[in-house]
């Protein structure tokens, strides 16, 4: 009994209090030591504590429910997150594929443009092929043997008979630019000795003139070639060559 009076009930933990109170009540019942007023007080305290317990239990239950809901929501969030990541991956892949496709398409367009620029009619190509093969310029004549003067490039004779050669010697060359001594000495006249060599000028259209950069290289090209032709003459064994007005 004394210990009951000397304690401060409220400072103890609720379980201990209740236990103590019940013990006290049990003891006081047995021993009839408590005053009725005190018994009532203890009982009221007990009821109060019980009420508080009930409240706490309800609160705990409520909190539990909320916690459960939170977990459910978190799972949802995770699921959505993974969905978003998946979409992101797919988007990236799609972008890459598209980028590749666009790049390849651009390359293709470029090559189409290039092909279009270089387009030549097949007829022209065939004509050109005819021209260069018929004159044996790129393919040897079938009867060619070493000793044949024909060559895949313009020979001395042809060079001298052309316009370049004519520029030096308008007077001394024979008719149509054939150097008589040379041609006769050779014994055979290849059929390229037409009055107008096909390799020298053609059915040239007027707008096919060479680009005029004549100021660029410090010298006049024809004059320059004149010197060459002059020296070419010196190389030859032709007796009809004359020394023209060279430097």
């Amino acid at each position: 009994m004394e210990n009951l009076k000397h304690r401060n009930y409220k400072s103890m933990g609720p379980e201990l209090e209740v236990r103590e109170l019940i013990e006290m009540l049990a003891i006081s019942r047995n021993q009839k030591l408590l005053q009725p007023g005190e018994e009532n007080q203890v009982l009221e305290l007990l009821i109060h504590r019980d009420g508080e317990f009930q409240e706490l239990m309800k609160l705990a239950l409520h909190q539990g429910k909320i916690h459960h809901e939170m977990q459910v929501l978190e799972k949802e969030v995770e699921k959505r997150d993974s969905d978003i990541q998946q979409l992101q991956k797919q988007l990236k892949e799609a972008e890459q594929i598209l980028a590749t496709a666009v790049y390849q398409a651009k390359e293709k367009l470029k090559s189409i443009e290039k092909a279009r620029k270089g387009a030549i009619s097949s007829e022209e190509i065939i004509k050109y092929a005819h021209r260069i093969s018929a004159s044996n310029a790129v393919c040897a004549p079938l009867t060619w043997v070493p000793g044949d003067p024909r060559r895949p490039y313009p020979t001395d004779l042809e060079m001298r008979s052309g316009l370049l050669g004519q520029m030096n010697n308008p007077s001394t060359n024979g008719v149509n630019g054939h150097l008589p001594g040379d041609a006769l000495a050779a014994g055979r006249l290849p059929d390229v000795l037409a009055p107008q060599y096909p390799w020298q000028s053609n059915d040239m259209s007027m707008n096919m003139l060479p680009p005029n950069h004549s100021n660029d290289f410090l010298l006049e090209p024809p004059g320059h070639n004149k010197e060459n032709e002059d020296d070419v003459e010196v190389m030859s064994t032709d007796s009809s060559s004359s020394s023209s007005d060279s430097d």
Partner: protein
């Protein structure tokens, strides 16, 4: 009127220039001529080298179609290199190029002959197996 006349003479001049340059660029296909030029020191002249560079316009299809000896274009391209120009001073170099050119020139006729031979052989085989 004067302008038209000027244009005409200009055109005639251009025509001649075209012809000259056409002839000259094709002369470059002749390795002996190149050797000749190299020995006379023309390849050392800066103006001449510039001229060779200028002549590259013959590679365009509109101009190239007038070339009878298309090999000259390859020579022209090689001539753009200093090393090649220096090498051409040797007569052996020119001779080598000449030989290779002629052999290449005969390439197609040789190929055709081989084909004809192969065809003849095949026909012979067919005849003998037929009988």
């Amino acid at each position: 009127m004067a302008a038209a006349v000027a244009m005409e003479t200009d055109d005639a001049g251009n025509r001649v220039r075209f012809q000259l340059e056409l002839e000259f660029v094709q002369c470059l296909a002749n390795p002996n001529y190149l050797n000749f030029l190299a020995q006379r020191g023309y390849f050392k002249d800066k103006a001449f080298v510039n001229y060779l560079k200028y002549l590259l316009y013959w590679k365009e299809p509109e101009y190239a179609k007038y070339l009878k000896y298309p090999q000259c274009l390859h020579m022209l391209e090689l001539l753009q290199y200093e090393h090649f120009r220096k090498e051409l001073v040797n007569a052996q170099c020119a001779k080598f190029i000449d030989e290779q050119q002629i052999l290449h020139w005969q390439h197609y006729s040789r190929k055709r002959m081989r084909l004809q031979q192969a065809l003849a052989e095949q026909q012979q085989q067919n005849n003998t197996s037929g009988k």
